[in-house]
Amino acid sequence: MSLLVVEGVSKSFGGNRVLKEVSFSLKEGEILGIVGPNGSGKTTLLNILSGIVKQDKGSVIFMGKPVDRLRPYARARMGIGRTFQITRLFTNLSVLENVLIPLHYGGGDADPGRAEELLSMVGLLEMKDRKAGSLSLAQRKRLELARALSVNPRLLLLDEVFAGLNPVSIREILDLLKEIHSLTGVAMILVEHVLKALFQITRRVIVLSEGRIIYEGEPEGMARSEEVIKAYLGERYASGGK
């Protein structure tokens, strides 16, 4: 049985059709990459999956149950964790409190021991008493990951987790994601522009362009798709220039 099934999801904002009949599924423990040009509907898709935005048409089925009518908090409690493109930490609260809140409300148990365990996993245990607002971007991304893990997710939605990071930090986050996956077996959907990093963690990619799926398959196949080259990669990338 698929962990997640997205069936014919469409969404418009005013006259702008952001998603058009998007359908795909995800197996338990699978890692899926979603790429595409800016404005292609990637973040809107994550927002629909996490319940922040309601789709106009289509349905989302998670663990065999339709979740279309569920609000984000209920989806989090079912096991959908997410991070944001621009980090949305509780900046005036401590690093520890940032993890304790989802542990209590999303994960069902605000155990400080478990919170410290998660912070240790992302390498922030020594900073647990610092205000989240004082962290660097890479540290913020790590904390968002710890926070998303606090809801005991079966599915992690990661929105541009590598964006704005230097190569060293990208490497560290990549290793962290691999470690999280091997330890928890959590399924992941990564919306990403940093393809080099993305392709090191996923064997399946969806390319969105103008709200519809123009490619689905192995990363290597992207460079062979005329439509993907035209809409997203460009000739230089396809010929190995990037």
Partner: protein
């Protein structure tokens, strides 16, 4: 509760021992300060912890006051029962409107609550039941303790409000409110039922504010729409909160006492220009210490 908070709580408790040693005038000023303390602490739950500024919070003061007064006058209910119904009515009204109202945020929410306050004031001014613009006269309290009973009622409400704020500061319930204040969307995606917690926060604010309104109504014995739905009282609550420190447990108490006492002293010393001086002092305070006297942890 940290040491500074315990010191403030001790201060409020000690205030309860003042009446035998001070004049009726000082006793009245302290009672007003206790009233403002409760109102500021109530607003602190909503603004300080949840991040929603109910600029028209005094709507619930009016509802509590008028419900208490109407029940006493029209149905001859005893004050404790009338006050209970008045308090619950304020809370119930808040619960009823919380979900649609709290879809709005920041200044939109603030202005809408102010509109509610003004609309309720107008409604009360045009109803026969509430005495219209002439208001309602209540019988003078002649029971045990005399007027001191109102002092102690306000004292108890201030202590309860303080303890509630202290609980919110440290509890998982408070974490939910703070998460909403920090980032509502993120809070929701992390399992916090934001609609529920916002409604609870709004209702708690209304319950305290309504209870204070009910006590005030019987204390003053005469209420009218202007005094019970006074926008200036809303401003005073916000100023006390800003001076003291939004989102802190001790700040609203310090701010309320400072503002009330300073206001009285200036009124006594400079009767013609006390408002001007007080206004300047408030502006200076907010400019020099924008986050208030009591810093958030």
């Amino acid at each position: 509760m940290g040491r500074p908070e315990i010191a403030v709580l001790t201060g409020i408790v000690l205030v309860g021992f003042l009446p035998p040693f001070v004049s009726d005038y000082v006793e009245r000023v302290v009672a007003l300060a206790l009233m403002l303390t409760s109102l500021a602490l109530a607003q602190n739950i909503l603004l300080g912890y949840t991040g929603y500024p109910a600029f028209g919070c005094i709507a619930f003061f009016g509802v509590g006051g008028y419900t208490t007064a109407v029940l006493m006058k029209e149905l001859n209910l005893q004050f404790p029962l009338a006050l209970t119904v008045g308090t619950v009515s304020s809370g119930f009204l808040a619960l009823l409107i919380a979900v649609p109202l709290m879809r709005l945020k920041s200044h939109y929410f603030a202005i809408t609550t102010l509109a509610l306050q003004l609309a309720l004031g107008e409604l009360v001014a045009n109803l026969e039941l509430t005495g219209g613009v002439q208001g309602i006269n209540l019988p003078i309290y002649r029971g045990p303790g005399g007027y001191l009973i109102f002092f102690y009622m306000l004292w108890v409400v201030a202590i309860v409000s303080f303890l509630l704020n202290a609980y919110i500061e440290r509890s998982t319930f408070g974490y939910a409110l703070k998460a909403i204040r920090e980032d509502e969307t993120a809070a929701e995606t992390l399992g916090v039922n934001t609609v529920l917690f916002k409604a609870i926060s709004f209702t708690l604010m209304a319950l305290i504010t309504g209870c204070v309104g009910g006590i005030y109504a019987y204390w003053i014995t005469y209420i009218d729409p202007t005094s019970m739905f006074d926008p200036l009282l809303s401003v005073k609550v916000f100023v006390a909160l800003l001076i003291g420190g939004v989102g802190t447990v001790g700040g609203p108490v310090v701010g309320a006492f400072l503002l009330e006492v300073l206001s009285e002293v200036l009124w006594g010393q400079f009767p013609k220009v006390h408002g001007l001086i007080l206004g300047l002092l408030i502006v200076l305070t907010v400019l020099i210490i924008p986050k208030g006297m009591w810093r958030r942890r």
